[in-house]
Symmetry: C2
Subunit: 483 residues, 2 copies
């Protein structure tokens, strides 16, 4: 395909970008235009053809500003990208244009007591490695700890490992400040603190480019990985809930996974997992060892694995426990059975255990249970990340509806928009900030329904389909055969 065939003036853009590295090889651009959207069969169908036209790799804040100014001048959409570990197409350029790869902004700038300042593209595990000398680590991380960038986590994640102690990224105080660039003729740099950070956190980069972040730190004692087995699923869930409520036992993860998921998909831990047992995965601080053991002895529980009790030889081949939890549970299932998909739900306090039992009875083997216990508004409750033995998109929608009918909100991971994947309503604060920071609507188009289609009726049961996606998909089909 010749550059002339493209809807955007990519040649003109390149002329303006001077010393900034770019990539136009279609296969490479396509690779940098995707994330783990394929966990969802729906998103796989909708987004498979998505690709940007060019990728830019700035290595500094000045470089980011130069890219934004150039794209603004030529009305070229910009979709920011960290490590591409999202699951909802957050970093996929639905309307083509430029993919802004921020992985070159990877410096850890400053570490102080309880805080770290790093550039948005820094890998989360690398930030923790830099903080280790001070005995500190990040409060929260996704299960993609070793690959995800901190900026991507803030722009597209919600919490994860550590949420059992600290709540989620939405909670005031879990993001100290954000340094962002606006999408204007002369892009500005803004520093957001306090609740201002919520205007751009979990906004998929639709209303500002996160350049640098300041995050709170917690003490890094190291963590003991423990797996506890239960014959009864309800008891496993009750144990996890009660352990979460132990205020003095310091922990970073409490996951409940129903049999036969662990036995079928946790291949490298297989020998520790007797058939039929439901498991609870726990990351607990070494100082809490004796308390944790005392607590566990009160239950009809079978300790199956402890990372501090296996030899170093045996430990070598085992992934850390957080790589069996959160969306890594789904990933491990998908590796064995590509037909698996999943859901994201919230079991509201105080009825979480009753609701878990009800949905588990109702959907049984088709939707194997996976719970992640968290602090949520000061109480312990759990999210669900159940696996789904996928049959059809229609059945998937039925399963969503069934949850909602029982009073279990669904954060639908089979939607690429902020609203449909979230609370199914306009976030007025994010929308207002987009008007200020991206008046032309060039940042990550198609992800914020409130911007593209202010009158969209979230109650009507229809799925939003971004017009640009259809246009781009058609263009991509045309170019795909030529590439």
């Amino acid at each position: 395909m010749s550059p002339e065939a493209r809807p955007y003036d990519i040649a003109g853009l390149k002329a303006r970008l001077g010393g900034i590295r770019t990539e136009e090889n279609p296969a490479l651009v396509r690779q940098k235009s995707r994330d783990f959207y394929w966990y969802s069969p729906t998103l796989k169908r909708q987004l498979d053809a998505v690709s940007g036209d060019i990728v830019a790799f700035p290595a500094s804040e000045e470089g980011v500003l130069a890219v934004l100014a150039a794209c603004h001048a030529l009305a070229i959409p910009v979709t920011p990208r960290g490590a591409g570990t999202g699951n909802y197409g957050q970093a996929m350029p639905l309307d083509g244009g430029l993919v802004l790869d921020l992985s070159g902004l990877d410096r850890v700038r400053e570490i102080g007591p309880g805080r770290v300042r790093a550039q948005a593209g820094a890998i989360i595990a690398d930030i923790d490695a830099a903080c280790a000398a001070s005995g500190q680590e990040l409060r929260l991380h996704p299960s993609t700890y070793r690959t995800a960038s901190i900026g991507g986590f803030i722009a597209g994640g919600s919490g994860g490992v550590g949420s059992i102690s600290w709540g989620g990224l939405r909670d005031l105080g879990n993001i100290l400040s954000l340094r962002i660039a606006t999408m204007e003729a002369s892009p500005r740099i803004l520093e957001l603190t306090g609740e201002e950070v919520q205007t751009v956190s979990h906004a998929y980069g639709t209303n500002g480019i996160i350049i640098e972040v300041e995050m709170p730190l917690a003490p890094a004692y190291g963590w003991i990985d423990a797996i506890i087995g239960f014959e009864d699923f309800a008891e496993a869930a009750a144990y996890a809930n009660a352990l979460g409520e132990q205020d003095a036992i310091l922990k970073k993860l409490i996951s409940v996974i129903a049999a036969p998921v662990p036995q079928s998909y946790f291949l490298r831990h297989r020998k520790y997992l007797p058939d039929g047992l439901h498991v609870v995965l726990v990351m607990v601080a070494p100082i809490a060892r004796a308390a944790f053991e005392s607590f566990t002895r009160r239950w009809n529980a079978r300790p199956l694995f402890r990372s501090d009790l296996v030899g170093p030889e045996e430990a070598k081949g085992l992934p850390p426990l957080y790589e069996l939890a959160w969306n890594h549970t789904t990933l491990r299932a998908l590796r064995v059975d590509p037909s698996i998909t999943y859901l994201q739900t919230l079991y509201p306090f105080p009825d979480q255990l009753a609701l878990v039992a009800r949905i588990h009875e109702r959907l049984g083997d088709e939707v194997p249970a996976h719970l992640e216990f968290v602090r949520f508004d000061g109480r312990i409750t759990c999210f669900g990340l159940p696996l789904i033995r996928f049959t059809s998109e229609q059945r998937l929608e039925e399963i969503v509806t069934l949850h909602e009918q029982l009073g279990i909100p669904v954060f639908n991971p089979h939607r690429y928009t902020l609203e449909e994947g979230g609370m199914k309503q306009t976030d007025a604060v994010q929308l207002a900030f987009k008007r200020e920071a991206d008046p032309q609507g060039l940042l990550n188009p198609g992800k914020m329904i409130a911007w593209d289609h202010p009158d969209f009726d979230f109650g009507a049961g229809r799925t939003y389909l971004f017009p640009g996606l259809q246009r781009h998909a058609a263009a991509s089909d045309a170019t795909g055969s030529a590439a």
Copy 2:
């Protein structure tokens, strides 16, 4: 009085104690035989005459064992004592005998990541000072931080400053291990970990002498002291509760104190406290500053004081905020108005705010409200430490009954026994351990009803009166005139 008149063979005891320092001067022994029991007019009446016969000041574990062996041989009661900052006569020898002053065992033995090991007599603030170089501090401390010993806190306290983040001492994991000595012919040393620590924590030294403790540590970032004013008391309580539920805002104290208590009794902060305002005292981590400010702006609140915003000159004359909170609130009131006393209550989740409102309306000015918000079994709720404008013991009992009738449990601070000051029932674990560790019943006699009077009916509405207290009081009256 001649030594022969005493019921115990003190002369024989001294002969056995060799190089251990002792004190028999009646005025000094009497001073070492009391604590802050006089906060309660009831305990003041009952315990004013209490005194031991001799005080021993061992400076080592071996010294403690020697004292215990000698007292055991001569059947002399032993009442252990830290700094004497308790409020329920915990360290008062109801049956006379020896007071075991542990203040000589004051070494901080070992500091590691998340843990400290110290001797029981170490002052809490001194332990924190020793931990400061590692950037750590104790999770929990009483308002008597600068004077109380760690052993006394564990033996007679329940939580306090820090409980809003970590729960109480009763929670598994807030005491890592305890090294104790038994009261036998050949006293043994036992190490208790996990839930075993609960056998001797909050047992007033009735079933073992705490010699050394291992406690968990938290990061020491320093704390900002903030006072927030509210025109409406219910809104102050709601703000405090909601701040407690902010999982990501790191805090160490949230106290609510109804007007006119702050204005009348917080003399050194007086100029920050406009008449009529109810106040919330907050200790918040510097990293949470912006989040805390954002959160507070959502309320109809008036920021009155911030320790990080006053100059060093101004700050010099001000006590730390924790010395306005917990039982220091009562102390400050007592210094101005000696007729004041107080109560200890629990407002059970989830009805805490409704119950607070109900009792506040009902008892109004006679019982000015003072709430301490805490984590309790994984939820945020509050204890009450209301002041009471004392008129009579009978009215005091009526106020207790009124709380209980409304569903507000009272931990009665006008009782010197474990059971009556606690859950009004036998602690079977502590009793069983006493049978093992103190078979002769020589440790702190009169404090554990289950031991002295197994058939006592907690439901009968009578107050337990230790027979030894009457005997001793009579002896003390006799010697008092001779001294």
